[in-house]
């Protein structure tokens, strides 16, 4: 029972971290089809934003909250720059974006090394987030609860925006058929940029959250990028809700397997499960059928 | 040869509860140029999809002594079933010649496959002449205009040597002369094959159909000669709405009788 509660919580918590890292990708990859390997470095930029804010503001409690919107903007601006300079000309060859953004990721990592130094830095958690909360004899780290809430909130906001707003429709329409969107009166360039801003901004937010969990170093992004993509793939491309289910499933699977084996075996087994899963549902949890032969 | 006919019985296709093809029975014999008409959304394309294996269906589709339902797309194709698409789909980066050569080739063994093509195979040569793309033989298919792609698709069917051909709106977007040419071509190749053509163009149908099946809301509404079908009040109702319709009205929509 103890183990059950702890491991389910750990799994959900791990899932919420994956979800935060993957949510922006669900937009830029799932919706726009850009395989942005630099997404991890946008996360890193968010984390360093928190570090800089910490140094500027001092007070840990305040700076964490202030960092969230600022990191969103930082990630977003990085994304827009990437979109406007390179990706703009590549929407018709999505696989190539993977390699271009891999290059961007190399450069950003090295840049971070040259600017912030190769050693990791620390952003202390504010007092109201340190230590565990005791509920019914179980202790849950406050930081993990905070990330769980943040992830769920970010998901709800994004899903609602896409589903119910004109902006959401515009984003989806542009992604579907660029020339048609353009001739329907939508500025596809502005829309692409905005979409990329939001998706990359979410990476920035994820970065701030991750400062509560682990190290802030130039290779921060590399630890999350593959898992984040797997979340989107398992969820089903173009499906934000799929990403949520996938993130929590992977989180729980990882923590359960890890509990009875080791973290390494858990990772390998989770990969194997994903391959097996794609045999059953090659298009992910949620599939969008179309009649085209594309 | 005697077995080379298409026999569909009780064919049903449904998507999440929506029944697009609803218990269709249909047989088409070789030499018969069968037109399949019906309002938009009647289920014509879905019917072809089901026969060619693109969508799962229940019921039975038999062709040449084989049951087709449940088979994979490429297995059905190997049984001599070919089709075109409502929006022409060709290999954009390959040349016209390469498109045709590939269509001709599923029977080739591995050894032929790993060898280089020498010259233009005879059947490809013939198809090029027939569909009038001889001059564009080395052009990438991606640069062809809409109509030219449709011709190329027909050419691919020819070299594929399909015995059952299903064409989804093959003359959409063609000029009158081009339609006539296509029609004559269909008659020629239909002489010893089983051909099903989906069309909205009533003039075209009238000129070239041997027999007509009208589909409505997934069901067969009427079947017979062009004249019989045009005169069928149920067909008129489906196309024109309920009530009696003047001869002139019927003619504008269903063509001169």
């Amino acid at each position: 029972m103890d183990v059950l509660v702890t491991q389910v919580f750990n799994g959900l918590s791990g899932g919420s971290i994956l979800l935060l890292a993957a949510l922006g990708l669900a937009l830029t990859f799932g919706q726009m089809g850009v395989i942005n390997m630099a997404h991890g470095e946008f996360i890193m930029a968010g984390a360093y934003t928190a570090y800089v804010m910490q140094n500027v503001l001092g007070a840990a409690g305040l700076s964490l909250l202030v960092s969230l919107p600022i990191a969103f903007a930082v990630g977003g601006v990085l994304g827009v720059v990437l979109e406007a300079t390179l990706l703009r000309r590549m929407y018709h060859r999505p696989l190539d974006t993977l390699l271009v953004t891999w290059g961007v990721s190399l450069v950003l990592q090295q840049l971070a090394r040259d600017v912030f130094g190769t050693a990791g830095v620390d952003v202390p958690a504010p007092a109201w987030l340190s230590g565990p909360v005791e509920v019914l004899g179980f202790s849950f780290p406050r930081t993990r609860l905070f990330i769980l809430l943040l992830a769920v909130a970010a998901f709800l906001a994004l899903a609602a925006a896409l589903r119910y707003t004109a902006l959401g429709r515009r984003i989806r329409a542009t992604v579907q058929n660029r020339p048609l969107a353009e001739t329907s009166g939508i500025s596809t360039r502005a829309t692409d940029r905005l979409t990329f801003f939001i998706g990359s901004g979410l990476a920035g937010v994820a970065g701030v959250a991750l400062t509560l969990m682990g190290s802030i170093s130039p290779n921060l992004g590399t630890s999350y990028i593959v898992d984040a993509f797997l979340v989107v793939v398992v969820g089903g491309i173009g499906q934000i809700r799929g990403a949520v289910i996938a993130a929590f499933l992977l989180g729980v699977a990882q923590s359960w397997i890890e509990y009875s084996t080791t973290a390494s075996i858990a990772k390998v087994l989770v990969f194997a499960l994903i391959v097996a899963f794609l045999q059953v549902r090659p298009q992910g949890i949620f599939t969008v059928r179309t009649r085209s032969l594309a | 040869m005697q077995q080379d006919y298409l026999e569909i019985s009780g064919l049903t296709v449904s998507f999440d509860g929506f029944v697009a093809v609803d218990g269709v029975n249909l047989s088409v014999l070789p030499g018969d140029l069968r037109f399949l008409i019906g309002p938009n959304g009647a289920g014509k394309t879905t019917l072809i999809d089901a026969v060619s294996g693109l969508v799962p269906a229940t019921g039975s589709v038999r062709y040449g002594g084989h049951e087709l339902t449940g088979r994979k797309v490429h297995r059905i194709a190997r049984l001599g079933v070919g089709r075109t698409f409502q929006t022409a789909t060709v290999f954009e980066e390959l040349t016209v010649l390469q498109n045709l050569d590939i269509a001709a080739g599923h029977r080739r063994g591995p050894l032929t496959l790993v060898r280089r093509r020498k010259g233009i195979p005879e059947e490809v040569e013939r198809a090029l002449e027939t569909v009038g793309l001889a001059e564009l033989v080395d052009a990438p298919a991606g640069v062809l205009a809409h109509g030219q792609k449709q011709w190329l698709e027909i050419g691919m069917l020819l070299v594929q040597d399909a015995r059952l051909l299903m064409l989804d709106e093959p003359v959409a977007g063609m000029s009158a002369e081009e339609k006539d040419e296509t029609g004559r071509l269909l008659q020629r190749i239909g002489a010893d094959r089983t051909v099903v053509v989906v069309e909205h163009d009533m003039d075209f149908m009238r000129s070239f159909a041997n027999s007509v099946t009208v589909l409505h809301a997934g069901k067969v509404l009427a079947e017979g000669s062009v004249r019989e079908v045009q005169a069928d009040p149920r067909v008129q109702e489906v196309y024109l709405g309920p009530g009696h319709h003047s001869q002139a009205e019927v003619e504008t929509v269903l063509g001169e009788v």
Binding site: G103, D114, I237, F271, T290, S292 | G142
Partner: protein, 357 residues
């Protein structure tokens, strides 16, 4: 020049450069270095087929490369240990002796066969499983990347069997010949060069064959191919298997030339690294991937000798600029020179009405 002679001439020039000029002009150290580049070039030739022609962006070539390399390394360790002996690293960290799955590789024949067949067989199973289920495009790319990650984790986590993160190193002999003897190293280099030329010839034949056209058709409109009676899964699997086969052989040659294989050579990063040369050289050309791989590996060594952190920037910029602005790779520049009247590639392909419209 008559076009018929271009290709044989290119092969002849390559042969002279590799078999005559390089051994005479380069110091043994540089020759070893070039030998390593040639291994990457062999991998690149296969990637050119699978990715350039077949559209399969395989981010997991490190797995097949690693299989070939580890198979070879296991054999060399066992051979060094002598009949019935236990390789040095194993004796140090475990007292269990040689694991059962190492035993077959005491045999030279078994090892060679395994190098030729095992990566290809694994690729065949993986390829059929994924392509049959229509896993493709970005899905395939990311899946293959996850595979590379999992493979590296497995290697690291199993030190008694694989040497863990340290990998396998310290080989003395190669099928009985001392690896430290310069004459043997020259033979090794020539073997790599010969294999490269052979692989180029093989891929060249596949590219110009009907199979090559079919592969491009599957890349561009996989579903359409089915209606012509082909199973695209088989078509794609063949290219994937050929690429894996080449990667495996390259890995096997890499081990005696470089003297070590470790998880660092097989994970996500090296797997992507294997693509960069292909992209830069020109993914859908014959010589482009091989030349690109050699050039990139050379630039890596040369630049990092001068500016260690600079190489990371250069590598990143190469990826960004070449792929964004020169998708055909450097070969497309050369091609323009050679054939100014070449048919224009449709620069702006008709915007595919995606998403089922």
């Amino acid at each position: 020049m008559n076009r018929r002679w271009v290709l044989p001439a290119a092969f002849a020039v390559a042969a002279v450069l590799l078999f005559v000029v390089a051994p005479l002009a380069l110091s043994p150290f540089r020759l070893d270095q070039l030998g390593r580049y040639l291994c990457f070039a062999i991998v690149a030739v296969g990637i050119g087929l699978a990715w350039g022609r077949g559209g399969m962006l395989t981010l997991g070539q490190g797995v097949f490369f690693g299989m070939g390399a580890y198979l070879m390394a296991m054999h060399l360790k066992l051979a060094d240990a002598g009949p019935g002996g236990t390789p040095d690293f194993m004796a140090l960290i475990s007292s269990d002796g040689v694991p059962w799955w190492w035993e077959p590789f005491r045999s030279e024949i078994v090892t060679l066969l395994a190098i030729l067949l095992l990566p290809a067989a694994v690729a065949a199973v993986l390829g059929l499983a994924t392509f049959r289920r229509k896993v493709r495009g970005a899905y395939f790319a990311i899946l293959s990347q996850a595979l590379a990650a999992a493979f590296a984790i497995l290697l690291v986590g199993n030190p008694t069997g694989t040497g863990g993160s340290t990998g396998l190193s310290g080989f003395r002999g190669f099928f009985g010949f001392a690896l430290s003897d310069p004459a043997n190293r020259l033979v090794l280099f020539c073997t790599a060069a010969g294999v490269l030329l052979l692989m180029l010839a093989l891929v060249r034949q596949l590219m110009v064959s009907r199979y090559g056209e079919l592969l491009v058709a599957c890349r561009d409109a996989e579903e359409r191919v089915r209606f012509l009676g082909y199973d695209p899964a088989n078509v794609k699997t063949v290219a994937f298997v050929v690429a894996a086969f080449m990667a495996g052989i390259a890995g096997a040659l890499f081990v005696p030339i470089v003297g070590i294989v470790s998880p660092n050579d097989v994970g996500i990063v090296p797997s992507i690294g294997m693509l960069i040369g292909v992209a830069i050289g020109g993914r859908s050309t014959l010589f482009g991937p091989a030349l690109g791989a050699i050039a990139v590996a050379w630039a890596g060594s040369a630049l990092s000798e001068q500016f260690p952190s600079g190489w990371t920037y250069v590598q990143g910029l190469l990826f960004m600029l070449v792929i964004a602005f020169l998708p055909g790779g450097l070969a497309s520049l050369a091609w323009r020179r050679v054939r100014p009247t070449a048919p224009a590639p449709s620069a702006q392909p008709v915007p595919a009405p995606s998403g089922g419209s």
